[in-house]
Amino acid sequence: MSDTAAEDAPRMRRARDGRLVAGVGAGMARHLGVSTAVVRLALMALGFAGIGIAVYFALVFFVPNEAAADPAADPATGPAADPAGAHTEHARRQGRDLAQLLAYLAVAGALGMLFLLFGGLFDPLLWLVVFGAVGGAILWQQANPAQRDEWVSATSMRSRKGALRAGAGILLIVIGVFGFLAFQQQLHEARAGLTFAIATLAGISLVAAPWIIGLVRERDRERRERIRNQERAELAAHIHDSVLHTLTLIQRRAEDPREVQRLARVQERALRGWLYQRPADAESTVKAALERVAAEVEEVHGVPIDVVCVGDGDMDDAIHAELRAAREAMVNASKYAGPETVSVYGEVEPEQVLVFVRDRGPGFDLDGVPPDRMGVRGSIIGRMERHGGSARIRTAPGEGTEVQLTMPRIPGAE
């Protein structure tokens, strides 16, 4: 098992979330697509066979950590740091799961003790006990996940409960094993001391574990809180900086109303972006892409462009071309139609995407445009027709101009 994993090493990463020691077990389980419990128990068994520990350390050194799940996470602050803080589920998974670790240690301890007591791999009694213990561990592991989550969730009251359960588990296993051995008359007097020591250890950990776990969790929570505050401060600083900067620029350019308006619009858009950021990726949906094109033209030419878009859908190559044509139309409107707002309207229908770009400028005589003027004929009409769409231009002197773009959608693109 570990051999195949080693051969496929480039795709295997040590897990960052849900690791117990160094993430080898969890990483390998993810890589092989089997339960982490199986991998961990197998590694443990190999450990007693003599090679597991070596394999484990080799994997720790040769297998890199997986990349941080959250790009904002600073690896230096440790795996428990969750800067977003909102996803408690995620936050919980990032830390080492102490209760789990305890359970595995208990299993390992029990196995070790059995080897000590039986002194051989081939004693059938040993395997009986091992199977029993492994079965118990897997049952515990596979217990209703929601319930298990509750046992190990982040609130200190519950974590205390979880630790108590883990401790009780250990105690039960120890009692079970020793009871079994005593029943089998295998326990010699010399080992009574060992029993005593182990029982004492179990008692102490039963008392100390909840307190230690509580401390660790408290520290994790404080760290998360600190990171969250830091993020908030950064956000506030960013907004203040950009707004103050723009206000200063506006005061300096007060004599140029067009520039002032441009600055105000750019800043308004930036702020809106911060405050109501849309989840949609700017490159992947028609609405977001149309708004982005309008924003870019507006920033360059300083004429306000209002975008209204009805419906939405995925981009394809033809629609990319349509948006380039729309951009050209917006640039023309900004250049020739004066300072009045340009209206852009997009409508995404199942079969086609319509874009209207309308200005309230002087308009022009369409037939009077010389044939060598590339702007309208090449960039708009030609581009649309090359991609299977069409463009219409409605204009008359004194009535403004409206460019109407129609592009059929590729069937099944929805």
Binding site: D306, V308, V310, Y345
Partner: protein
């Protein structure tokens, strides 16, 4: 939004109360509107607004969407329960869907953003005071989105579906056409355009259409 025939006849300017929590903005609007309207009162929060409106009985309230004490929707709820004849024109810096649809469903007869020019605002006020509806291009876009055609049969065809004509009118408004231009484009009168828009407004306010509520829920409205 084009010229207005009714007001041009020399009727008394509409009596208006301005409700906005920014004093600077209130005095700015007052100055911009000039003689076109008669500003009879101002208020800066929900309680003051309800008090002033009850006292002054204005034709129209210019209502900010974001107000301390419950927002513009709360003013609409409390005033319209007792004075259903008062007309509201919502005014906001935000053009977020939840704000727009929220106040329109709350009873406002129009929605404009604060970047609107003084002349256009005066036009919109007169129009709403006359009982018509004022749709900005963005509001028209939201409504088209909300009533987007689906295969699901409407529960109440009368309220849950836009007619072909209404859809055409809304699309032209969304494209930036003024009422007058819409009328010219569709070969109908400005009055007919106003009728269509008012009818859309009624559907928007009264419809319990499944898609509309789902659309609203997706944007955390209602």
């Amino acid at each position: 939004m084009g010229d207005n025939e009714t007001f041009a006849g020399g009727a008394a300017p509409p009596r208006v109360v301005i409700v906005d929590d920014h004093r600077l903005f209130r005095s700015g609007v007052r100055g911009e509107l000039g003689d076109a309207v008669d500003v009879v009162g101002e208020a800066g929060d929900v309680d003051a607004a309800v008090r002033v409106i009850t006292e002054k009985q204005p034709d129209l309230v210019l209502l900010d969407v974001h107000l301390p004490g419950g927002g513009g929707v709360e003013v609409l709820r409390r005033v319209l329960a007792r004075q259903p004849e008062v007309r509201f024109l919502a005014l906001s810096v935000s053009d977020a869907a939840e704000d727009v649809i929220g106040v329109v469903r709350g009873g406002a007869r129009g929605y404009v953003t604060k970047t609107i020019s003084g002349r256009e605002l005066a036009d919109a006020i007169v129009r709403v005071a006359d009982g018509d509806a004022v749709f900005s291009p963005r509001l028209a876009g939201f409504v088209l989105d909300a009533f987007a055609a689906t295969d699901a049969p409407p529960m109440d065809p009368e309220l849950d579906r836009l007619t072909q004509r209404e859809r055409e009118v809304l699309r032209l408004i969304a494209r930036g056409y003024a009422y007058k231009e819409v009328a010219k484009e569709l070969f109908i009168s400005v009055k007919t355009v106003e009728t269509h828009v008012s009818s859309v407004l009624r559907k928007l306010q009264l419809s319990n259409r499944h898609e509309l509520s789902r659309w609203a829920t997706a944007r955390k409205l209602v």
